[in-house]
Structure formats: C-alpha cells, structure tokens
C-alpha cells in the first residue's frame, strides 16, 4: 500500500511544478513592469534642489554667425536672355563654391574659359538689367545691358576702393544648339550690387607689424566674403596669413613666416580658441614671436575677448611648450595706440590745460603750462611723460617736456609751418605752407629735423594741415590744388632712416564752395573731417581705408555754434569753439565733447577754452 501512495504524491508534485514556473514568470514580468515604470517616474523635472554655479558656454556665440547668403541656381529651361543674365548675376553673388561652377553654367564654354572672376569685383547700385525690346523668336544673338552707378571696387586682396561714375556693361548672349540662351561675352571680374556686398562681405581689420621694429600694430581693413562652413575666426586668420593689401604693402610686414597655413580653429573647454597652423609657423624667429601673437589676437580682436588663444602646430604644442595668451597680454600693441580713456588737453589763456574728470582743467607743468612764451597749435606726444610740440614765434616747431622748469627747444625751423603732429616713434611732423611745387614736409626726432620725400601729388599743392596717424603708418593732409580743399591720405614708408610718403589717395574730393577746416585721427582707421560748405558746418567720420564716410557715425552739429578745432580718440570727439576771436580779456570759447549714444554735445571747459588735443594723431 505504501509504495503506491508515495508514487501518488510524487506524481502530484511533478504535475504542480509547471504551474509554479508559470507563476514565477508572471511575477518576473510584473517586476519588469514595476522597474520600468519606476524608471519612467524618476525622469520628471525636479522642483527643488541646492543652488549651483552654472558653467558658461560661450563657444557657440563666438564662432557662429547669422547671415543670409545667395544660393546659385542653375539656368532655367527656355529662360529669356534677361533671366539668364539675372540668374548669372545671382550665381556670381554666391560664395558657396569658390570655382563658381553654377555661374559658369550660364556661360558658353568659350566664355567660361576666359572669364576670371577672381580678378576684380566691382560694386554698383541701382542696377537695372534690360535688353532692347525686339522679337527673340528667330534671333541667334541678343544683348543685355546692366546699368547702374559704380560704388566701389574690391581688389583681389580685399582692398576697398570707392568708385564713381556709371556702370554700363553689355552681356552678349547667343542661342546654343539646344535652343538655350547662354552668355558669350561678359564684363571682366564679378559685378555685384551693393546689396550683395552688404550681404556677402564683411569688413575685417587685419593687423600687421610696421616695417620699423616697434611694439605696435598697423590696421589694414579688407572686405572678405562670408564662406559658409568657415567660421569668422578662420576667415580672418586665413586672410591675415595672405598678407597686407596693395595700399599698405612695403609699409608693414607680417610676423608670420611665409608658407604658414591654417589647419583649423577649434574651441576647447569653452574658453580656449585653438589655432592650428602648419609646421612652417615654428620657423618664426624668437624676436618675432610676440609680434606674431599680437597680430593674431588683435586681428581676432572682438572674437577673442575673454578667450585664451593657443597656437598649435599640426595638433601639437608649439615647439613642445605650448603658446597660450590673451588679448589683454598684448594691450600695448593696440593699433589705435590711444585708448578711449586717453587724457585730453585744451588751450586756455595761452596755456595748455589737462582735462579733469569733473570738467575744467589744470595747467600743465613746464613751459607749455606758462604764459611766458606765446605758442599755438600744440600737439601732445604719446610718451608716459608727454612732450608738447607747438608753433612758437612763427619761426618753427618747438618741443618742451612736462617737467617743471622745462624750456622750449626748436626742432623744426621754418616760417610758415602747419601745426605739428607726433607719431608713436617720438617724432614730430610738420609741413611748410608754401606755394605749389615748393611744399616740403619735415620730420624731427630728438631735435634733429629731416626732410621727408613726398610724391608730386603732395608737392603740387598748398598744404594747410598735416596729421600723422597714431600708428605712424599713414599721413592725412588738407590740401588745396586750386580747385578747393581736399583731404589726401598717404602711406608712410620707412627704409632705414629714410622716410618716404607714397601711395597718396584722395579721401575727400574738392567740392564747390566747401572748405575743409580741420582734420583729426579718431582711431587707426577713421579720420574726423570738419568742413564748411553751403549747408553750414559738417563734421564727418571718414573710413580712411575704404574712402567713404561712415554713415553710422555721422555727427550732428549745433547750427548755432561754429567749431574751429577738433580732436578725436576712439569713441570720443572733442571740438573747440572760439567765439571771441581777437577780443581781449577772458574769452568765451568752449571745449565740448560729443556723445555718440545721446547724439548731443556737452560742455567740457569754458571761459576761453579752445584747441582740444588728444595725444598723438
């Protein structure tokens, strides 16, 4: 009996086991559900927690930029000649493809071989594309004209030259075998509208080293097209490596060894801009490393504020040690030379005063702060202990220090001289105001005057003012060639101790009944020009390197007050009025400062204050 019972229980046990497995599987599934559900429950946004410092991520804003670009489209089927030319013009305004493959599809094979878009870029405005209205049904040839006003020319290096006159270009089209119009003859280079220029180009201030060794940089403004896929820093550095533009070549050099190429620019850790060059960069001589670094940070200027820049060579540390620096490490290389906080000066009671923070001024120590010797047109040097140059006794330019008891010393002798102007090398410049053909320009260092050789464009006129730019690379003059006053810009070339002015361009053309009264450098690239014409006085900021007035920085003048002297520093404009000219006693002249934000003048000093001066420029 008992064996049977035992097998019976065993059988029951065996039968129950699969049921147990079933149960287990169900339990396991339930656990899986619970786990996943609890996991999902944890991902809600927290509503409490401890405060933390947020890590900054600035990399994105610096390297990315917002812009609109033109997209080239292929020629449409059966398009009219005008549409072909329009499509071609749109395609040339696209910088996606450096070979302009799409634009060349609008040309006949022959024309696309001959056309060289890199040669020159001309900018026009108010362009109109039209073709003589006639039946095109059976025509094999057609002409389309592009008419407009010339605005400027952009050279192969990106140099901007203003242009005047009309643009009248003819496109000759032929009907190809497949019945499609194609351009067979076209003007040379690219023709872009000013809208294209505004859209596709950006001005960039490149910094180069002056040919004379000095801790400072010279600005060269170029217009570079925005190339998609290439960040602004990369565009700037590549253009920097390509060297200066034609207008300034010879006056500046690049510290980058020739043959240096950029590999890539990346941002690491949110605050380090890594600039990776090819190995040629390592051949830079030791005394040029600082200049090279300064060129790099100052060319990138606004992009690397707060960033650390690191130079690498093919992904490895520069010369095995690394090269990390900041813009603030190279502040003394500032191409503007003076900062917006520069000390301003003015004349009052025949003495030179230093502007105080709260307004008004104190007389300077030394000869310039005393009335013993009468002087005019003072200029202040950029030294730590400024020196003053001025016209004294009408027989030359005299210089004095700002230590008590200093005396005037004559540096340049001459009867009719323009007001002196300092450059950053410690030299004083002045030109003789004389008949055309006899103009001479002097430059004096440590009391020793030298003649500066000038080209005939400057010699054949009557100079009334000469201002050396603060970086010492350019000269601005007011000149009268008999047709009215003009402003001309020349480049200063230094070969050893020989100094030559060349590459003279006219900045402000002579206009009927307009007189240029004063000029002053505001910063490295901009010149303040005070003129008086039919509509009264006008004070404009001209971009020296582009040759156009900067519309965004136009200065509003008070119609009641007549200005007679100006001075500029970055973001600052000072003007002096001399309402009581010739009257004895305490004068009524005032020195005013202009606020660009509020667009209004405020008084800085009164009671006969005049002739405001900033160091250099």
């Amino acid at each position: 009996m008992s064996p049977r019972r035992s097998t019976g229980t065993g059988g029951a046990h065996l039968a129950r086991e699969p049921a147990g497995r079933e149960c287990r599987r169900a339990a396991v599934t339930a656990v899986a559900f619970a786990l996943l559900a609890s996991g999902a429950g944890c991902t809600t946004v927290p509503t409490s927690g401890s405060p933390r410092v947020v890590a900054e991520d600035r990399a994105r804003d610096t390297l990315s930029q917002q812009y609109v670009r033109m997209i080239a489209e292929p020629p449409r089927k059966d398009a009219s000649p005008e549409d072909i030319v329009k499509g071609f013009q749109a395609a040339t305004a696209s910088f996606d493809d450096s070979r302009l493959t799409m634009a060349k599809r609008y040309l006949t094979d022959d024309a696309s071989r001959k056309w060289n878009p890199a040669k020159q870029t001309r900018i026009y405005e108010e362009g109109k594309i039209s073709s003589p209205i006639r039946s095109l049904k059976d025509a094999k040839e057609a002409t389309v004209t592009l008419k407009g006003t010339a605005v400027a020319t952009i050279g192969p290096g990106g140099g901007y030259t203003p242009a005047t006159g009309a643009v009248d270009e003819t496109f000759r089209l032929v009907k190809e075998d497949d019945g499609q119009w194609r351009i067979a003859q076209l003007p040379e280079g690219r023709l872009l509208s000013s809208a294209d220029l505004q859209r596709a180009y950006r001005p960039v201030d490149l910094c180069f080293a002056p040919a004379t060794p000095v801790n400072g940089l010279v600005v060269d403004r170029v217009w570079v097209p925005i190339i998609p896929g290439r960040g602004l820093p990369e565009t700037r550095v590549r253009r920097l490596l390509a060297g200066p533009t034609q207008s300034i070549q010879g006056a500046v050099v690049s510290a980058f060894p020739s043959g240096t190429e950029l590999n890539r620019i990346t941002v690491e850790g949110g605050d380090t801009l890594v600039v990776d060059f090819t190995s040629a960069v390592e051949s830079v001589s030791d005394d040029q490393i600082d200049m090279m670094k300064a060129q790099l940070v100052w060319s990138l200027r606004d992009l690397v504020t707060g960033f650390t820049v690191e130079i690498r060579v093919n992904g490895e540390l520069f010369r095995g040690m690394g090269l990390r620096f900041k813009l603030s490490d190279y502040a003394q290389f500032d191409p503007d030379v003076v900062t917006p906080q520069a000390q301003a000066y003015f004349m009052q009671d025949g003495r030179l005063h230093r502007v105080k923070d709260k307004g008004g001024g104190d007389p300077l120590p030394g000869a310039a702060g005393e009335r013993d010797v009468e002087f005019r047109a003072p200029a202040v040097s950029g030294d730590y202990q400024p020196r003053i140059a001025a016209l004294v006794n009408d027989d030359g330019v005299y210089v004095t220090g700002t230590t008590p008891g200093g005396k005037w010393q004559r540096w340049i002798a001459g009867k009719d001289l323009t007001g002196p102007s300092w450059d950053r090398y410690g030299s004083v410049w002045a030109a003789e105001i004389s008949e055309p053909g006899k103009t001479r320009v002097w430059q004096a260092t440590q009391g020793e005057a030298r003649r500066v050789s000038i080209p005939p464009e400057l010699a054949n006129g009557r100079l009334s003012a000469l201002r050396v730019s603060r970086d010492g690379a350019r000269v601005a003059v007011i000149m009268d060639e008999g047709l009215g006053t003009t402003v001309k810009i020349g480049t200063v070339f230094r070969v050893g101790r020989q100094i030559r002015i060349g590459n003279v361009r006219t900045l402000v053309e002579a206009q009927d009944r307009q007189e240029i009264k004063a000029i002053a450098w505001q910063d490295a690239a901009d010149l303040l020009v005070l003129s008086k014409g039919k509509g009264g006085q006008e004070l404009a900021t001209w971009s020296v390197m582009e040759g156009i007035p900067v519309a965004a920085r136009a200065i509003k003048l008070d119609a009641q007050t007549e200005l007679d002297s100006i001075a500029g520093a970055p973001d600052h404009v000072l003007a002096g009025t001399d309402t009581d000219k010739g009257e004895p006693g305490p004068g009524h002249g005032e020195v005013r400062t202009y606020s660009g934000d509020k667009r209004e003048w405020t008084m800085l000093a009164k009671d006969g204050a005049t002739n405001p001066v900033y160091p250099l420029g």
């Binding site: 008992s2 064996p3 019972r5 035992s6 097998t7 229980t9 065993g10 046990h13 129950r16 086991e17 147990g20 497995r21 287990r24 599987r25 396991v28 599934t29 899986a32 559900f33 786990l35 996943l36 996991g39 999902a40 994105r60 990315s64 930029q65 917002q66 812009y67 609109v68 670009r69 033109m70 997209i71 080239a72 489209e73 449409r76 398009a79 005008e82 549409d83 329009k86 499509g87 013009q89 749109a90 996606d96 405005e125 108010e126 362009g127 109109k128 594309i129 039209s130 209205i133 592009l146 407009g148 509208s193 000013s194 809208a195 505004q198 859209r199 998609p228 896929g229 290439r230």
Partner: protein, 580 residues
C-alpha cells in the same frame, strides 16, 4: 605533417561550407540534447525568450511614447515660430501690382528692391541660430536665399512639391546638411508659400533632441538586457532548487535499478521534495524486501528441486535394479507382462536422464557449474558428437553432411560440455529434421569458432527463436517426443554456452527448416565480438535478396551480413536476459 597542412590549405569553399554545416548540425544536436535532457536549461531558456519578448515590446512602447512627448514640445515651438516668421515675411514680400510689372522693363531691384534678402535677414536676426531659412521662387530668377551654413539641398523635393500645391504649413522630418560639415543633423523642415510665389522653409535642427533620445534609447536597451539576464539568472537559481533534489532522486533511482538496493535519499525539511524523497525511500525498502523474499523463495525452490532429484535417485536405483531383473527375465512372462517390463525399462531410462538433466540445471542455477578448460581441436569435438548421434540418425534415416575446415581449429573449451551442446543440437535436428539431410558446419576466425547445425524440417515460427531455449518448451504441445528428449537439453546447452562466454542462437522459418549456431571465443574469458558463421543460412539469405524483398522480421538479418556481431549480440543479450 606537411601533407596534412597542404591538404588543409587546399580545402575548397565547398569543403569549408560542409565543415561549417557539420559543426552547426553538431551544435544543434547538442542544443537539442540539452533541451530534452535538462529541465533547468529548458526553464532558463524559456524565461529568457519570454522575458526578452516582454522587454522588447515594453521597450518599443516606452521609446515611442518618450519620443513622441519629447518631439512634441520641440515641434510645437518650431511651428509657432514659423507661423510668426511667416507673418513677418509676408510683410516684406508684398507682390508688386500686376500692371507695374507690365509697364516696367523687368529690372533688377536695388537695395530697396531686395525684399527676400531683407525678409531673410529679419528672420535670421530673430532666429539667434536656432534654425535656418531657405527661400525659393520658381517664377522669378535670383530669389534663392539661405541663412547660415545650411545646404539648400536639405529641403526635401517631396516637401517642395507639397508646399507648391497647398497654402498651409507643411512639415517633414529631414536630414539637415551644413556646408563644410560632413555629418548631417536630423531635423524638421517646415515650409510655406507666401504671396503665391515665394516658398520659405524653416529648417530646425533637432540634434539635441536626437542626442537625448539616443541616450534614452541606450539606457532602455541596457536596462532591458540587464533585466533579461537578471531574470534568466533568477530562473536558473530558482529551478536549481527544484532540479537538484530531482537529479539526486534520479541518480538514486539509477543506482537502485543497477541493483544497489541499499540506496536511500536524504530527507531534508517537509516540503514536496522532502515528501518525494521519503516516498522514494519507502519504495526502495519495500522493493528490497520483496526482492529478498523472492530470492529466498527461488533459493528454496532450487534447493527443493535439487533435493528432490537427489532423494529420488536412491529409490530409483532400487527400482532400476528390480526393473532390470524383470526386464532380463521378460521372456519368462506372458506377452502382456513382458511388454510392461519393456515399457517400464524405457520410461525408467528416460526418468534417469531427466533426473540427470534436472541435477545439471540445478547446478547451473546454483552457480555450481564449473568449466574444465583445455585446448581442443573443434573438428574432433564435432566428429565425436556426430559419432554419438549416428545411431539415432540411422534410426530416423537421416544423413549428416559435415563441412569442416581442413586445418585444425583449436579453442580453449570444456570439450565435454561442448560435446553435450552439439549432441543436444544434433538430437534436436534429427527429431525435427523429418529425415532430411542435416548440415553441420564448423567455422573459425582469429577470435572465435562457431558450429552451425542446419536442418530442413518444419522450421520455427517467428518469435520462437528464443522460446526454444526455455525449459520444457515444445513447439507443438500435441506432438509426442519421438526421441524422448527431456525438454531441458537446449536450456542446459544455452547455460553451457553462456558459461563459456559464448552464444547459442537459433534461426528458423516455417517450411525452410532451422539452424542453430554455437559461437565460442577461442581464448577462454575473451569477449566475443562476432561469429565466423552467419546465423541465417547463406542460401536462404541469397534467395531472399534475389526476390528483392525481405520480410520485416528478416530485415535486421540483412544488415547482419555486414555487421554480424552487432545484430547477433543484441539477440544474444535479449536471450540472456530472458534466461535470467
């Protein structure tokens, strides 16, 4: 070695494929064996598969709902932004009055006339880099604009076609490509048509959403895999608790089956498995008890048979002596009494041989039978046995045909017992041979010798091949024993053959006669692997194969021609089992 290397180098793709297939088949076989052989493996595998299915379904569902909710926010803000931008842009892109376009020769717009550029600039100033804009105009040349570095080819053609047909906002997910970037970013493109001809597309990169979703997906997959593995581990652990005692029980049952009746299981706890162990133990002890009782009983019976035989001998001897006396003086009796004396004499002889056989078989049963081994030429043994049977054969008018090898064929045997076996076989053949010829064949090979005795009598019915060796078995109970065999001869012969480590097997077929084969190893104690002679007579076999079909009973015998040993041993084992 170089030869094999060369061969392995010269293996063709076909060979490699075949090798791979063979290996796969072997692995599948192993897997199937594990599946059928291991409960644990089965439980773990099914848990793995089922939980994987559950986790996959759950994961896909979760992923979809997460994707939907994450994307929903991004898409919603993208749509709202696009709507606002389109309102702005349509302010710039006012269509010129129709008469104006006719009146003026179609001229390029100056700065004032680049509305699409201005619109794009206004929108991109607002975008702050979150999205890019592409514009197209199919009816006017030179109106294509893009912002930032977006590649205008990122706008799908299908979307453009749809935008050109409808006035509503149309959106489509797309891969956004940027000039100079090789890696496309996934994103959404929302397009609209403004003032009939301008198409404006907003391209929102969803790279961050993509990254988030990828991270979530990776987490889900990881969690799923861990979960499934954990479940499998748990299932393995849990089944082990059940399987281990079951395995122990199985091992114990195997040992029990092998005859170790003292095998018992450890009883731990009070659960189902403990009860199983207790029941098993109870069963085992009951079995042991019963087997012991049966053994004792059979022992008693054997002893009884032996004792009875012995006890019968003494009175039998007396009876014999008296019967001999009566027999010798039978001529003095009347014919009826003389006939009785003859009958008594005959039956007494038979009784005596039966008693001898009973004693012999009880010796075998008691394990008391011993072999008296010595090398002997089997030809002599056969000849002696035939000589003993010749008298009987003559009486039955039966002829012997002897097929003996010419060389001596020596084997280590107990020749007395072998002779007895052969005598039994010959008597049996004469009895059932119906007077036809009896063939005795002696065969030998390196390891074994065999003697086959073939008769051409009625033969054996299927299934009788093993029954012939049973004690007191008769093919036809109604038939009288003509020769007066005791019914134990074949049984004793079988016991003798087994004692030699040999086989005694029978073949028979109705109408074709039968054949008995005795196979013995040449060296005593050596295992017997095959027999030098076939069990089925070759002529029968040949006739069968000529007819082209074999009966199901004989199909194993067909194989036996090539692999005699295997087929024969199976029969022998089965026979041996029956005897035990």
């Amino acid at each position: 070695m170089p030869a094999s290397a060369a061969r392995s180098r010269r293996r063709t793709p076909g060979q490699i494929a075949r090798g791979a297939r063979r290996r796969a088949r072997r692995a599948a076989g192993r897997l199937r064996r594990s599946w059928r052989g291991s409960l644990q493996f089965r439980v773990v595998t099914s848990t793995l598969v089922l939980s994987m299915a559950v986790v996959v379904v759950l994961g896909v569902f979760l992923m979809q709902s997460i994707t939907a909710s994450v994307l929903q926010g991004a898409l919603q803000s993208a749509r709202e932004e696009t709507q606002a931008n389109i309102a702005t842009a349509s302010g710039y892109l006012v269509p010129p009055p129709p008469d104006m376009t006719d009146a003026l020769p179609d001229g390029t717009e100056g700065e004032a006339g680049d509305p699409v550029g201005k619109a794009a600039q206004a929108l991109v100033d607002r975008s702050g880099g979150r999205y890019d804009i592409v514009t197209f105009n199919e009816s006017k040349v030179g109106q294509r604009r893009a912002t930032g570095g977006i590649d205008p080819a990122s706008v799908p053609e299908a979307l453009r076609a749809k935008v050109l047909r409808s006035d509503a906002l149309v959106e489509q997910p797309a891969k956004l490509r940027y000039v100079g970037d090789k890696q496309p970013v996934s994103g959404i493109v929302i397009g609209a048509r403004i003032n009939g001809t301008y198409e404006i597309y907003h391209l929102f990169p969803l790279g961050e959403v993509d990254t988030t979703l990828l991270a979530v997906q990776r987490m889900l997959i990881l969690a799923g895999v861990v979960l499934v593995l954990l479940l499998a581990g748990i299932a393995s652990l849990v089944t082990r608790q059940v399987v281990t005692p079951v395995r122990l029980a199985r091992q114990a049952a195997e040992r029990l089956a092998a005859g170790r009746l003292e095998e018992r299981l450890k009883v731990r706890g009070e659960d189902d498995l403990a009860r199983l162990a207790a029941s098993f133990n109870e069963m085992a002890s009951n079995l042991a008890l019963k087997i012991h009782q049966l053994e004792e009983l059979s022992q008693v019976q054997r002893q009884f048979v032996s004792d009875v035989s012995h006890e019968l001998r003494t009175p039998l001897t007396t009876v014999r002596m008296a019967a001999d006396l009566l027999y010798e003086s039978r001529e003095d009796f009347d014919p009826a009494a003389a006939r009785s004396a003859e009958l008594m004499q005959n039956q007494l002889e038979r009784f005596e041989s039966m008693l001898a056989d009973l004693l012999e078989i009880s010796r075998h049963d008691a394990g008391a039978a011993t072999l008296d081994l010595e090398p002997a030429d089997m030809r002599d043994v056969v000849l002696r046995a035939v000589g003993d049977s010749e008298a009987l054969a003559e009486r039955q008018a039966t002829r012997f045909e002897l097929r003996l090898p010419s060389e001596p064929c020596v084997a280590e045997v107990d020749s007395r017992r072998v002779e007895r076996i052969l005598r039994n076989l010959l008597f049996n053949a004469i009895e059932h041979g119906e007077g036809r010829e009896i063939v005795v064949t002696l065969g030998a090979d390196r390891d074994a010798v065999a003697v086959a005795v073939r008769d051409h009598g009625v033969g054996l019915k299927p299934g009788e091949e093993t029954m012939v060796f049973d004690r007191f078995w008769r093919a036809d109970p109604s038939r009288a024993r003509t020769i007066g065999g005791t019914g134990l001869g074949l049984a004793i012969s079988r016991e003798d053959a087994v004692l030699h480590g040999g086989w005694l097997q029978a073949w028979g077929s109705p109408g074709e006669g039968s054949q008995f084969r005795l196979s013995l190893p040449r060296v005593a104690g050596a295992p017997l692997r095959g027999s030098p002679l076939p069990l089925v007579p070759p002529e029968v076999e040949m006739r069968r194969s000529w007819r082209g079909h074999g009966t199901p009973v004989l199909s194993p015998a067909v194989g036996a021609i090539s692999e005699v040993g295997v087929g024969v041993r199976e029969t022998a084992d089965a026979g041996g089992f029956d005897v035990a």
